[in-house]
C-alpha cells in the first residue's frame, strides 16, 4: 500500500481544486443558507460534477460508473470540503449508493445506480433513530410481513439529504428486539410512497437533513436490499465507506480552516506587531499542522485499505475517523479563538467551519466511539 497520490489522482485533485475554487467559493454555501434553500445544494452543479465523472467514481462501468475507488473519490471530497460545498456525495454516492452496490439485486442496481452515476437521481439512507447515538443496531422501526412484501412503521432522524432523495433505504427490524444485531432488514422506499412523510431537520451546519416518518408504508418483496434479517452487516459496510468519504471532506475543511487562520495571524496586528509573532499562537499553530499531517496519513490509509479489501480496513477507518474528528474540532475551535471577536460574527466564514466540524465529528460515530471500536476490534 503506497500512501501517495498516483499521477491520475494528482490530476483529478487539480481539476477538482480549480472547479471548486471557481464554482463553489464559501460564499455560495452562505447564499444557500441565507436563501433557506430547502434542498441545501445545487442540482445543476451536481449534474456538472456527474458529467465530469466524479459522481460515478466508485461505481462499476456497467452501471455508468468509472470503476475507481475511495482513493479517487477522497480527492474530490477533500476539494469540496475545503469550501464547505454541500453536494450530496456522502448520502447518495456513499451511504445509499454503496449499500446498493454491496447488497442490492441486479435489478435494484440497474434501476438506481445508473441514474445516480448520471447525476439524475438522489438517494438517502435512513438508519438513525431518536437517542440511538451511534449504535447501529438500536432500531425500533418495524417491518411486518404484508403478503409477499412488507409494511414499515417507525421514525428515522438525521437522514442526510433526505429531502432530496428519490428513494430511501430504510433500516427496519424484521425480527428480534431493539439493539439485537440480527433481525435488521434494509428496504428501499420510493419518495412519494403512501404513509411516508419527511420534515426538514435544521442542524447547526445548515446542510440537508430530514426527519422521516413511516406509517404503515407498504413495499414489495423486491424492496429488500441484501439479505432479510442480516442488514446490520451491510449497514456497517456502507457506513464505513461513507466514513472514509467524510474523513476526506473533513481533511479538506481542516486544511482550509487552518490556512485561513494562518493568514489572519500574519495579517492581524496588535501591540504594533502581527499576532502570529506571539509564541503562544505559534506553538498552537505548529501543533495543528502536525494534526493535519497525521489526519491525512490516516485517511489515505483507510481509503486504500478499503479499495484493496485488506483485513485491517475497519480498524484503519476507525483510526481515521477518530483522528479526523479530534483534529477538525481542535482546528475549527482554534480558528474561531484566533480570529478573536470577528470569529464570533455570523458575517465571517470561520464559524461555518466550526459548525460543520461539530456535525461531521458526530456523524458515523465520534472520536471516542471509534476509539472504542478500535479497542473492540483489537480484542480488548
Amino acid at each position: 500500500m503506497q500512501l501517495l497520490l498516483t499521477e491520475d489522482q494528482e490530476l483529478l485533485a487539480k481539476t477538482a481544486a480549480d472547479f471548486v475554487a471557481k464554482q463553489s467559493p464559501v460564499s455560495r454555501f452562505r447564499e444557500l443558507r441565507d436563501s433557506d434553500d430547502p434542498l441545501g445544494f445545487s442540482r445543476s452543479l451536481w449534474k456538472q460534477m456527474a458529467e465530469l465523472g466524479w459522481v460515478g467514481i466508485p461505481f462499476p462501468e456497467e452501471f455508468g460508473g468509472a470503476g475507481l475507488g475511495l482513493s479517487e473519490l477522497a480527492v474530490i471530497l477533500e476539494a469540496l470540503g475545503r469550501n464547505l460545498a454541500p453536494e450530496p456525495f456522502i448520502s447518495t454516492v456513499l451511504l445509499a449508493g454503496q449499500a446498493l452496490l454491496l447488497g442490492g439485486s441486479d435489478a435494484q442496481k440497474k434501476r438506481w445506480i445508473e441514474p445516480v452515476a448520471a447525476g439524475d437521481a438522489f438517494l438517502a439512507l435512513a438508519y438513525q433513530e431518536v437517542r440511538g447515538r451511534y449504535d447501529l443496531h438500536r432500531i425500533r422501526t418495524r417491518a411486518e410481513r404484508n403478503g409477499d412484501g412488507w409494511r414499515i412503521t417507525g421514525e428515522k432522524r438525521h437522514v442526510i439529504d433526505g429531502g432530496a432523495a428519490d428513494a430511501l433505504i430504510v433500516a427496519a427490524r424484521t425480527t428480534g428486539d431493539v439493539s439485537d444485531a440480527d433481525g435488521i432488514t434494509l428496504l428501499l422506499v420510493e419518495a412519494g410512497a403512501k404513509g411516508l412523510t419527511l420534515e426538514r431537520q435544521r442542524r447547526v451546519d445548515s446542510r440537508g437533513a430530514a426527519l422521516v416518518k413511516l406509517e404503515a408504508v407498504e413495499v414489495g418483496a423486491d424492496a429488500v436490499v441484501g439479505v432479510e434479517g442480516q442488514g446490520g452487516a451491510l449497514l456497517e459496510d456502507a457506513i464505513d465507506r461513507a466514513t472514509v468519504g467524510l474523513c476526506a471532506e473533513m481533511l479538506g475543511a481542516m486544511s482550509a480552516c487552518f490556512e485561513r487562520t494562518l493568514e489572519y495571524l500574519k495579517q492581524r496586528e496588535q501591540f504594533g506587531v502581527p499576532i502570529g509573532s506571539f509564541q503562544a499562537l505559534k506553538h498552537r499553530s505548529a501543533e495543528m499542522y502536525i494534526e493535519i499531517e497525521l489526519s491525512r496519513s490516516t485517511m489515505m490509509a483507510a481509503a486504500r485499505a478499503v479499495d484493496a479489501g485488506t483485513d485491517d480496513a475497519r480498524k484503519l477507518i476507525s483510526l481515521a475517523k477518530a483522528r479526523c474528528s479530534d483534529a477538525l474540532i481542535l482546528i475549527s475551535n482554534e480558528g474561531v479563538q484566533m480570529h478573536g471577536g470577528i470569529g464570533m460574527t455570523d458575517e465571517h466564514d470561520i464559524g461555518f467551519y466550526m459548525k460543520r466540524a461539530r456535525v461531521a465529528a458526530t456523524t458515523f460515530g465520534d472520536a471516542a466511539w471509534h476509539r472504542d471500536r478500535w479497542a473492540r476490534l483489537s480484542g480488548y
Binding site: S277, A286, E287, I290, L294, R323, S378, G379, Y380
Partner: protein
C-alpha cells in the same frame, strides 16, 4: 529490478549461512545491546564481535557509503533491501553510534579528502567511537550562544571551556564540537566545527547522574587543549551551517528510533502490547473488554497516535521514493515521536499501578523496574536534540511562515 531481486536473494542466503543465530532478536537500545565500537568497545552478546567483523568485510556497517572509504557502495534501494533482510531475520545492526549516524554523513558532505581518509574508514570499522560536543551550561536551546573559546596559535587552536550533555563522553575516543572562534561578530557567524581527540592533554570528562539513576551523559572540560587547525570541518567561523545540517540528521535519527518502535510494535507479539500489559494487572480473558474503561481509552488513544505517526513516516518515505521534495519534516517527527514516547512510557507505568513505583530490589519484577526507569529516561526525549518547544518554533517559522 532483476538486479535488486538477485541482490536480495544473495543477501538472504548469505545471512542465513553466516549471521550468528545467537543474535536473532537482540534489541539494541541506546543503553545496552549490540556494539558501539571504539577503543573500549564492548560486545553484547559476545557474538556481536564476529558479526561486526564479517559485516565490516562486506561493507555492511555503512552500506550506502562509498566503497573507497570502506562503505558498501550500495544504492539507497539496495541498502534498504539489506536493512530489510536483516530486520526480517531480527538481526541487530552490526555497529551503532554517532560515527555512523552523525559525524560520518557530515564528513562525507563537508570534509576534505584528507579528513575523509583519516576518519571514515575508522568509523566504518568501529575503531573510533564519537561523541557530540554541542550544548554548554549557558547554551541549551539557544545553541548559537556557545562560549567554549578556540584561540589561534600557529597551526593550532587552544581550547578552553565546558560542554554538557555529551552522550557517552566517558566511553568515546573523539568528539566533534562547536567552539567560538570569533566573539565579536553575530553569534552564529563566529562558530567553528572542530574534531578533537579525547586523549589530547587537557580534556576531562565527568558523568552526570540522571533522575533515572543512569549516566548516559557527561560534562566535558577543555583546559588549554591544543587542536590542529586542520581538524576544522568546512570554514573557520562557518560551523553553524554544519551544525544545523548535523542537527537535522540527529533529529531524523531520533524520529527513526521511535518511528521504528511504532513500526515493529505489532510484530513482536500478536495483539496489542499495551492491552496485553494491562491484562496482566486487570485480569480478564483475552478478547474481553478491559475492566477499566478510562485506562482502556487511554490505551486506544496511544495506539491510534502510534499508528497515525507510523503511517505519516511511511507517507513521507513513499513521497521521497517517488522523488518528491521533502520539507523540514524532521522537526515534525522529532517533536511528535518524543512526546508520544513520553506518553507511552508514562502509560505503561500507570498500567502497573503500585507495581510501577519500584526503584530497585525485591517486590518488583525486572520488567516493572525497567519500565519505571524507562519512563524517567523518556522525560529527556523531548529535551535532548532540541526541545519540543524549539521544534514547534522551527515548524512555525520554516513551515508555516509565521513572523518573528
Amino acid at each position: 529490478m532483476a538486479d535488486l531481486d538477485n541482490f536480495r536473494a544473495e543477501v538472504g542466503e548469505w545471512l542465513d549461512a553466516n549471521a550468528p543465530q545467537s543474535l536473532r532478536g537482540v534489541q539494541v537500545t541506546a543503553e545496552r545491546g549490540g556494539t558501539w565500537g571504539g577503543r573500549r568497545a564492548t560486545f553484547e552478546p559476545p557474538d556481536m564481535k564476529p558479526w561486526l567483523q564479517m559485516c565490516i568485510e562486506k561493507g555492511w556497517t555503512a552500506p550506502s557509503w562509498p566503497s573507497e572509504y570502506g562503505g558498501g557502495g550500495l544504492s539507497s534501494e539496495a541498502a534498504k533491501l539489506l536493512a530489510g533482510e536483516m530486520r526480517k531475520r531480527r538481526l541487530p545492526p552490526p555497529l551503532t553510534g554517532f560515527g555512523l549516524s552523525m559525524i560520518g554523513p557530515t564528513l562525507l558532505r563537508y570534509g576534505t579528502e584528507e579528513q575523509k581518509q583519516q576518519h571514515i574508514r575508522k568509523i566504518v570499522r568501529g575503531e573510533i567511537r564519537w561523541c557530540q560536543g554541542y550544548s554548554e551550561p549557558d547554551a541549551g536551546s539557544d545553541l548559537a550562544s556557545i562560549q567554549t573559546r578556540a584561540v589561534r596559535d600557529g597551526d593550532d587552536f587552544i581550547l578552553n571551556g565546558q560542554k554538557v550533555w555529551t552522550s557517552y563522553g566517558d566511553l568515546s575516543d573523539w568528539i566533534f564540537a562547536l567552539v567560538r572562534t570569533d566573539p565579536k561578530v553575530k553569534k552564529q557567524e563566529g562558530i567553528t566545527f572542530i574534531l578533537i581527540d579525547m586523549e589530547t592533554p587537557g580534556v576531562s570528562v565527568r558523568p552526570i547522574k540522571l533522575i533515572s539513576g543512569k549516566s548516559p551523559f557527561c560534562e566535558t572540560y577543555f583546559d588549554d587543549v591544543r587542536v590542529p587547525v586542520k581538524n576544522v570541518i568546512a570554514e573557520i567561523n562557518g560551523g553553524w551551517t554544519v551544525a544545523k545540517a548535523l542537527l537535522r540528521d540527529e533529529r531524523s535519527m531520533i524520529a527513526d528510533v521511535f518511528g521504528s518502535v511504532a513500526d515493529t510494535g505489532k510484530q513482536r507479539k500478536p495483539g496489542s502490547m499495551l492491552a496485553n500489559l494491562a491484562r496482566q494487572y486487570l485480569g480478564g480473558a483475552d478478547g474481553t473488554m478491559l475492566s477499566d474503561p478510562v485506562l482502556r481509552d487511554e490505551i486506544a488513544r496511544c495506539e491510534l497516535d502510534d499508528k497515525a505517526f507510523a503511517l505519516t513516516v511511511q507517507r513521507t518515505r513513499d513521497a521521497a521514493k517517488a522523488g518528491h521534495q521533502s520539507g523540514p519534516e524532521s522537526s515534525i517527527f522529532k517533536v511528535y515521536a518524543t512526546e508520544l514516547n513520553k506518553r507511552r512510557s508514562e502509560l505503561m507505568v500507570d498500567i502497573a499501578g503500585p507495581e510501577g513505583l519500584g526503584w530497585e530490589g525485591t517486590g518488583f519484577d525486572k520488567d516493572e523496574l525497567a519500565r519505571t526507569r524507562g519512563w524517567l529516561r523518556a522525560r529527556g526525549n523531548s529535551i535532548e536534540g532540541g526541545t519540543s518547544e524549539v521544534q514547534l518554533n522551527i515548524i512555525a517559522k520554516h513551515v508555516l511562515g509565521l513572523p518573528d
